[in-house]
Amino acid sequence: MKAWICRKTSKSDAIRKELLFMIDQINATLRRIPTWLVYVLLSLPAPYFLYLGATGGLGVEPINALERKLGEVALQLIVFGLTVTPLKRWAGLNLQKFRRAIGIMAFAYVAMHLLVWLVLDVQILSQIFADLVKRPYITVGLAGFLLLVPLALTSNNVSVKKLGPKWRVLHRLTYVAAILGAAHYVMLAKGFQVEPLIYLGLVLGLLALRRVPKSKSRRRAVA
């Protein structure tokens, strides 16, 4: 009986070791990927969507479709950015090197999403102002974008050095912006729709993971 238990634990130990080895290998590979490549890869969807929109690939109403696609990628990148810390802490996966690229590209997609809304969708200046004030989902979305502006502006080495510990505090605005972005999507849905709620759930879940006390994760990492 005891021997059986022993064998079982040793087996799971072996799996664990293999897993750690795999993660080390992935980390080694990630270290070799230059960050510029991440910028390039993450920017590819934008011209692709524009091409689709211009050639009928986004259907007969390409303006709204393009707006949605850009907004979705922005949300996905925001969610991706929020996974970096938990992935390091709980899985030992090291994506920190790419966090700035993910964040800046998320900002770029939010900005393009906003630009399509302004220029192609609403078009009429007076209506834009009316919408900003009167439509809560637009107010919330714009607030999210505005919060991202100082973060994008300070996403460089000079600012990190200059701001010191304040930089970390400032960049916690990401959390607020992420909630606003997901809420913006939930608020514009007609009827009860699942997809926006999934994004909101992911954002809230990833933020909740950050509230787990340090000691617990350390114990796990050691075990």
Binding site: G53, A54, G59, V60, E61, P62, I63, N64, A65, L66, L120, D121, V122, Q123, I124, Q127, A130, D131, K134, R135, P136, Y137, M187, L188, K190, G191, F192, Q193, V194
Partner: protein
């Protein structure tokens, strides 16, 4: 009694689909060359030009098949539309199940080129084929106590993948006041461009009320009930603050989440200009009398 309403344009003015699409490609090419200049051109052109078959059949809201605009075109083929019958009951002289063939044999199908304005602020022009709802109601014999007409869409989870999610309280229901239902503009559509109605557009039989937001024009109708009380309607049940019973197209009463003052005509591509929305979707002359003395900002 068909042909009680005729369009300003005669049926022969409806451009054949193929010619129309070629012409628009030409216009599209011109517009691409003079992006800014084309805005004025589009505004000046007031005559109703029907949207293409592709526009009308690939950009649909039919949440029983999913909430994406392309979902109905992808999934609605699973809906079995033959055999089809419509239950007509409530305050009628001859209640019962009316088979579609039976109904059609007694109706006069005509062409109606109508504007179609979605509550989401996009619009199309659709060449429907159909008959007047009034004729169908007369077939069943409306009793004097009837004041409203309630409609119900088929609810078949096995054929309608979208109904697996509680997006709305299924089945989809709609309603009209009796005078709205009897209005000569109100039709039951059975076709598009002279062809049978595709499933995604509400086959085999759907309501079309051109002066109301599109969601009032309930699709794939299986039940019509004459009542003396205002019937519940799906979007009003889902969000009474945003969707009223009347839901007449009105540029002066905004949806709480977006303006209804302007709309985007589908088919204009990436650089389509918005155009002003017309009161009662351009049918003010015909229907304004139905709402005389009503506060339209309250009865939205």
């Amino acid at each position: 009694m068909a042909f009680r309403w005729t369009n300003d344009l005669r049926p022969e003015d409806v451009t054949p689909e193929a010619v129309f699409m070629n012409r628009r490609q030409l216009i599209g090419g011109l517009a691409a060359g003079t992006i800014l200049g084309s805005a004025g051109m589009a505004q000046a052109q007031e005559a109703l030009e029907p949207n293409s078959w592709e526009d009308i059949t690939t950009y649909c809201n039919f949440y029983e098949f999913g909430t994406g605009k392309d979902d109905p075109a992808k999934y609605a083929s699973s809906l079995v539309t033959d055999p089809w019958s419509v239950t007509i009951d409530g305050l009628v002289d001859r209640p019962g199940d009316y088979s579609l063939g039976d109904i059609l044999s007694q109706m006069t199908v005509e062409e109606r080129l109508y504007r179609f304005r979605c509550v989401e602020a996009w619009s199309m022009v659709v060449p429907w084929n159909g008959f007047e709802l009034a004729d169908l109601l007369e077939l069943a014999g409306v009793q004097s106590g009837a004041k409203y007409v309630a409609f119900e869409t088929a609810y078949r989870p096995k054929e309608m993948p979208g109904t697996l999610f509680p997006v709305l309280d299924w089945p989809y229901v709609e309603g009209l006041r009796l005078d709205e239902a009897m209005h000569p503009l109100t039709i039951m559509a059975t076709g598009l461009y002279g062809k049978p109605l595709p499933n995604q557009n509400g086959a085999p039989l759907r309501l079309v009320v051109p002066w109301k937001y599109g969601f009032k024009s309930i699709k794939s109708v299986v039940k019509i009930t004459l009542t003396d009380t205002q019937p519940p309607t799906s979007w009003n049940k889902a969000n009474p603050r945003e969707y009223g019973f009347y839901s007449n197209v009105n540029p002066n009463v905004d949806h709480p989440r977006w303006s209804q003052a302007s709309e985007r005509a589908i088919g204009g591509g990436l650089f389509a200009r918005r155009k002003p929305t017309l009161m009662y979707n351009g049918y003010e002359e015909e229907v304004a009398g139905l709402y005389e003395g009503m506060d339209l900002s309250k009865n939205f």
